[in-house]
Symmetry: C2
Subunit: 334 residues, 2 copies
DNA sequence: ACATAAAATGTAAGCGCTTACATTTATAAC
DNA sequence: GTTATAAATGTAAGCGCTTACATTTTATGT
């Protein structure tokens, strides 16, 4: 692989000049620029980005930490991010944290030791304190789907209270009054918020929240199944079940069907996230849209703007959920 | 950020010694190793991986090129790969090629200029010739889901002929004789192979392949829908539809239902890939398992073994598809 | 105790770039 | 044609490590 040195020799100029045309910064006369580019193509020169990084103290790479690389939620997010960065010649290093505190911390360490210029973090298990401490460090980062008051300007979040409200309201508007709820793990802020919104809607309809009809899941499919079973076997009855995300809704649907319930006739179900496969389940699942792809893009813009001083569209930090009506919620149940 | 120089001063040794304990290569006495590690923790020293890479000519990073970052197929693949590498302290740089020749080439260039030590490529549009030329270069790479005879030892593939055969055989065994087929784009080897297997099974049952019952799709959901419409409106009839992947099967199912067909009573459907959501569609889709997660892991092992000289389990290059029976194929149609 | 080999440590030259600063060359103003 | 000023180019010192080679220390055998 040719180096800048060989290029400079071939072109008959100094190293600095070659570097200048590469970073087309400074004043280089058209003539020499021409000479240099010709030499570069002749040698098939490709700059060594490692050397560039070391010399310029900028790795042109940003770390992306998600909980899982698979799963319907993170794909669109990564996609939005990668697209935005590649346009700018930045690259993304990915790591998975698996919603586990130790692994999330390790991943962050790893990304930092890799000299990432910035970090995009979707972390769940790590503490606020750790992140606040991290914010004192020299690697800037932005948080997706997590709000910490002290770090508010770098938190890109969805209004989950509103989302929870919207979901419940839709079900209420269809005439349901006995509504079960499978929440996410309530130590997570987003799970709490969704439930809060749910309760708000109930209150608006002068319905009191029945603790019997609440099951705390963990956002994973199996807990949707377990939750449904628990609720189904309890003494209370319900005509609708709202789940705090689509995966749990899917698990609940499968189990409900195993219990010989007709969907949506005997049970209306509502999800949350609008993960792509929700329209393929049966019946197609009504849900709340989580614009994760755009939020990923926004996180990328945050980094582009705050780390690389690029001009970006104005940064937006709070996103709005949206009701998606399909066929899993039946009107006028008896 | 502390550098190796400060560590060496604090520990009262030379740079080289510090470097030695970091790479715990050479002979370092326990006493000095002790001194050095103490100095490192005292300073909170973290090696600068960029500098390491430049000096050692090894970036400890491997490039991963997939068609899309989202979608049900690539997630498990990336997941298997990331896990394998992180255990070894290697990191993965991702790029998306979008099944487009130019973008795939750009992505490869990008990854190479990023000094990746090795590449894992899932490419579709790029030519064999390009890859063969690339193999002469200095960056080693392994191919997933692509077979090129000249590069056979670095092709990690599924036996798609067998998969196509298995799918058709299952449908035939259930008594179907009029079987439609929505293929992938036939310029792609895997699409061809699946169809070849399909025809083999037909032949085994002494059935001739009816070109009228073939529709060429593009592996995307919409083409499943379009394919079904086309087939449904043609003069021929069929009791079963085999699709070359799950997404197209899903598209076909949705459209079939829109056409008021009862599934699976009036139409049996078979998919391919066993993407995770297939068990959630209705009726749960019978399909062919594509062990993409393991294949990803194997690709990682290939790199670990061929690039980093690590010991790995024996490398396997050909993977076997497997029939997954769910409820979308009905027995004894009339 | 001495020679010799082995182990431990140090020295210094890069890796391929960027960039502050110095120098040369072109341009403008008179 | 000078001189002042700006534009173009060159020089060389790093960036933070690794590593070949040189040197010193320690262990071993007699």
């Amino acid at each position: 692989m040719a180096t800048i040195y060989e290029v400079s020799k071939l072109a008959g100029v100094s190293l600095a000049t070659v570097s200048r045309v590469m970073n087309n910064n400074a004043n280089v006369s058209d003539a020499t620029r021409e000479k240099v580019t010709r030499a570069m193509t002749e040698l098939g020169y490709r700059p060594n980005s490692i050397a560039q990084s070391l010399a310029s103290n900028c790795s042109n790479s940003v770390g992306l930490l998600v909980s899982e690389l698979h799963g319907p939620f993170y794909g669109p997010m990564m996609s939005g991010i990668e697209t935005a960065f590649r346009k700018q010649g930045k690259h993304v290093i990915i790591a998975a944290g698996h919603s586990n505190e130790e692994r999330e911390q390790q991943a962050i360490e790893f990304l930092i030791s890799r000299n990432c210029d910035g970090l995009i973090l979707h972390v769940e298990a790590i503490s606020d304190d750790y992140l606040i401490a991290l914010s004192k460090g020299k690697t800037p980062f932005v948080l997706i789907n997590r709000y910490i008051a002290e770090l508010s300007s770098r938190c890109i979040i969805l209004d989950n209270v509103k989302g929870g409200y919207l979901a419940a309201k839709h079900v209420l508007e269809q005439g349901h009054t006995d509504i079960a709820y499978i929440s996410g793990p309530l130590w997570k802020k987003d799970a709490q918020d969704r439930l809060t919104g749910h309760k708000q809607a109930l209150a608006e309809y002068n319905l009191s929240f029945n603790e019997q009809l609440l099951y705390q899941g963990d956002f994973m499919e199996d807990s949707g199944a377990a939750g449904f079973k628990h609720l189904h076997n309890s003494e209370t009855t319900f005509t609708a079940l709202i789940c705090a995300n689509d995966e749990m809704a899917t698990g609940a649907m499968a189990t409900a069907r195993e219990c010989k319930l007709k969907l949506p006739e005997q049970l209306s179900i509502m999800g949350y996230d609008n993960v792509f496969f929700t329209r393929h389940v049966y019946p197609p699942l009504s849900t709340i849209n989580y614009p994760i792809n755009e939020m990923g893009r926004m996180a990328a813009d945050w980094v582009l703007s705050n780390v690389y001083q690029k001009n970006t569209p104005p940064l937006q930090t709070l996103f709005e959920p949206e009701l998606i009506i399909r066929q899993s919620v039946l009107a006028n149940p008896q």
